[in-house]
Symmetry: D4
Subunit: 159 residues, 8 copies
């Protein structure tokens, strides 16, 4: 079965990144969560990315703040799609640094960047990627979007 | 066979967006290219996104400049993964508006955003997504990355 | 009688957008308030805009945060003037993303953008538009501006 | 018949602001063009705004660069809707200053701001405002938008 | 005797602008404080500036937030030096809009801009301007700067 | 007679800063122009500022780019008013760094900042400061502003 | 033995800058802490920098906010490496001004800039510089980095 | 003898980064220049950093554009001081992304960042670091700064 790996640069990123895990659980997609740092544990980060395919990972979600290099490190060492979550942490300038460090990747090594602190959307995007070849997941995303629309309709009706 | 659909908001985006098509061709991935505007042809854009799955599309790549809504429109009407390319066009503020309009999507509807003018990376990212369940494409991406590394090594050797 | 339609992307935008309704009430202009999302309920948003003229709407006010596309969606599907309110919500970068996504519209499809969180001004602007051909509303705006000036004079006198 | 007044802060703004006049001509809307400066000819600017209604003006379009106050001056002295065009001139920081000086108006005195250098859209917006009570103009805008869509379709067909 | 006039756009600017008055009092420079708005009471603002010289004012200090035009209005109608204080108020984007609207004045009409919320520095700058031809004030500024240095030395000694 | 001292950080600033000298010549105000660097010739810069009063200088105008400290150095060592011109040079980020380094001075040590590359306005501002106690200069500024207005009127008439 | 000198522009910078001292203590590197201001005590700052080598200082760490010139002043008067810490203080725009004033130094006079509020990193960087020729300190930095990695591993294990 | 290693992410960075080599040659400091990419040749970058000490390198200078991770990769795998040069390349947003990706490093892993495109300053800073324990190099830097000052004096004299 497909698995998504969620990594983050620091324990302080957990409240944000946990949302990725939650929504993947909701979709019934297996996922593991790890803390590793592009700068403090560079080798572990490299090994993680290099062995991800062999470990059954299909998509990597990486969140980091400030000069956020973790998603880029992941992307540099695997052919799996890597989703980057720029985090607005205490050591970032309102998220601008995290966003630009994550999205402005050089030609050849893309990172699929979502909104600042958008870990939930990262999980949904991972599900959509897996849904390319997995009808069940694709259907689950469809249902999720229908529910989302209904919630908006309900909010509207409550006015 | 998997197909990627490349859409852009204006003919003037073609020089940038063509790179997505080229790299997909290189990977041997079928792709079609269309011009449609979130604001000038909103219905056509909606229909395109809604019928994309039935038309055999597996990933949508959407490029636009300024208040770049095209990728968001695509994402709102399909469960396929949508890759957004923020374009630095004459009607954008150095790409800042295109980037923020593309990446800062609300919870529930992600757009996988690449670098400003990063259409080539959008194509590579699409290949990586397809590669999740297609070993041949995954291998092609692997070879591409090896070639990329060799080019850097060669540049270094030429110093 | 003229009616203004106020739409917003999320229930959380209500505290900001309510100000548009209040000032329109003050001017004696009929208005309705709805929640609909460019991304979560795209079809409802499209239908709303397309049927606005037939429903007696003269001006649409649309507020949204982050990659704020709602005003653009409205503008793409009607010939009515659309006023955009960029909202500084929890999912925006200090309002920069909302502002740029709202104001930087492509040639052909304008959105009349007011200040960040400027819903009250959106209501006043709608009244001014209606006042073009409605002397009573025009007079009401004039009185409003006189009152505004008097309040400043009173604040000055209180020093 | 309705008239739109187009004002700009400097002769150097003419290449940009002329587009507003052109599109209004296209819609068959009478318009006059004047140069006046909020800072260099403040009295003339004030008189212009104050007498605009008596002169038959229905909408004012004001374009300026840098610390762009012209639209604000207009808005402060009339009850007519005022459309602001932030201009990216040689004395502006890439248009950021013009945009913020135009759009961030205080509560009570809105300026309907369009995109940087968006004079054509200012003209279209003025037409839409007039179209609220003028079916002919409203129809002309409708036709304009249909033509716009067809141009996109044609660009697409030419691929 | 020389007088400095302090004006601000709104009563909510008083906590910031009061600092200008306090430091002028400290220097023994007569000053008056008024609330007037470039946009809400444009005529009063114009009259104030035009009659400032006749009223004995030597320097005008103007503070405002958002699309901060008050200092520019003052500067447009007098030959007195005008000091602008960009205010980071609730209706500003972290002060960026106030700063750019105040400092980026067009050729011919300068505003002497100080730091965001820098009303105290505005008062000191006014004193320095008056000190050009008033030895007593110049001496008072000199003493102020010596005291300032001593405070830093004392802070250092306390480590 | 009053003298204004114009200093700049590098010879490459001369094309911009020369405008300050030109307009002061026009007003008949004596002025001297020097190159000195806050970072490359810090002692000379310090001596210049410290001896400025004794050398008959009444106002200092300082222009620099990048981390523009020259105006701040001047202001730290004299009680004369110091006008800062942020320069958009090859080693600046579009003038943002020059602007912020010049205007955001700490409490106690103001720099009267004008627009980016606004050397002409710096000269006018210096004239206005001198005009506080010099009726002739004040009259010259008045005439200058009248001429400026007439030029705008003439541009308008030429439409 | 090598000594590092830590200077800051204001007592209010102490909570941030203290971290530099703490980490240097941890590495067993002698350090002294002083308050001096580029703008309020310019002569003391100049003397400090000029006499730093004679006082046994090997690296200077300078922290300041707003138009942060202190590191630049230090760098202009010594050949020692100077590390700049941009401080996000109450008189700064989210640290943008401090960062640009510190890092954008002109050709010839570098400042080694660390992250906003990155005083701890400034201390580590100073240790790394000293470690170039001091094996003991180099080893201490190595151990510090190993501990850092272990802390991340431990955080990961605790998930 | 001390050696400085200069690395850059792409051959297109050579025109900028060459300046670091030139000034080190001028100081008589041995240096080697290599192209390696944090994202395209991550392993080579890692090996380079890990073996730098054994290869006799005392300082690493790393230049890169866009999401500039090269300096951070270097810093993560060595205890040598690493100087980062943010490069304003075609794939960067005016250097903002390069600057923030380089300077905003997390606690524990500093990068000594110089100005955008400031490769010459990176070379000077490296010389200053080596000069901590090498009197000859320290003297060479002193002479360089004296020459620099004389050039400014000469430029001034030529006015």
């Amino acid at each position: 079965m497909e698995k998504v790996s969620i990594v983050m640069g620091s324990k302080s990123d957990l409240p944000v990144m946990r949302e990725a895990s939650k929504i993947l659980d909701y979709f019934g997609i297996k996922n593991d969560v790890s803390i590793m740092s592009a700068h403090r544990t560079p080798k572990r980060a490299a090994e993680f990315s290099e062995s991800a395919i062999d470990n059954g990972t299909k998509v990597i979600i990486a969140g980091a703040g400030g000069a956020a290099h973790l998603a880029g490190v992941m992307a540099s060492l695997t052919t799996l799609p890597v989703i980057g979550v720029p985090i607005k942490s205490s050591n970032s300038i309102d998220g601008w640094d995290s966003l630009l460090s994550t999205v402005q990747m050089p030609s050849g090594i893309p990172v699929a960047t979502v909104a600042i602190n958008g870990a939930k959307n990262a999980g949904i995007l991972a599900a959509q990627m897996i849904g390319i070849s997995n009808q069940e997941i694709s259907n689950a995303v469809k249902k999720f979007k229908t529910d989302l629309a209904q919630k908006v309709e309900k909010d509207n009706a409550s006015l």
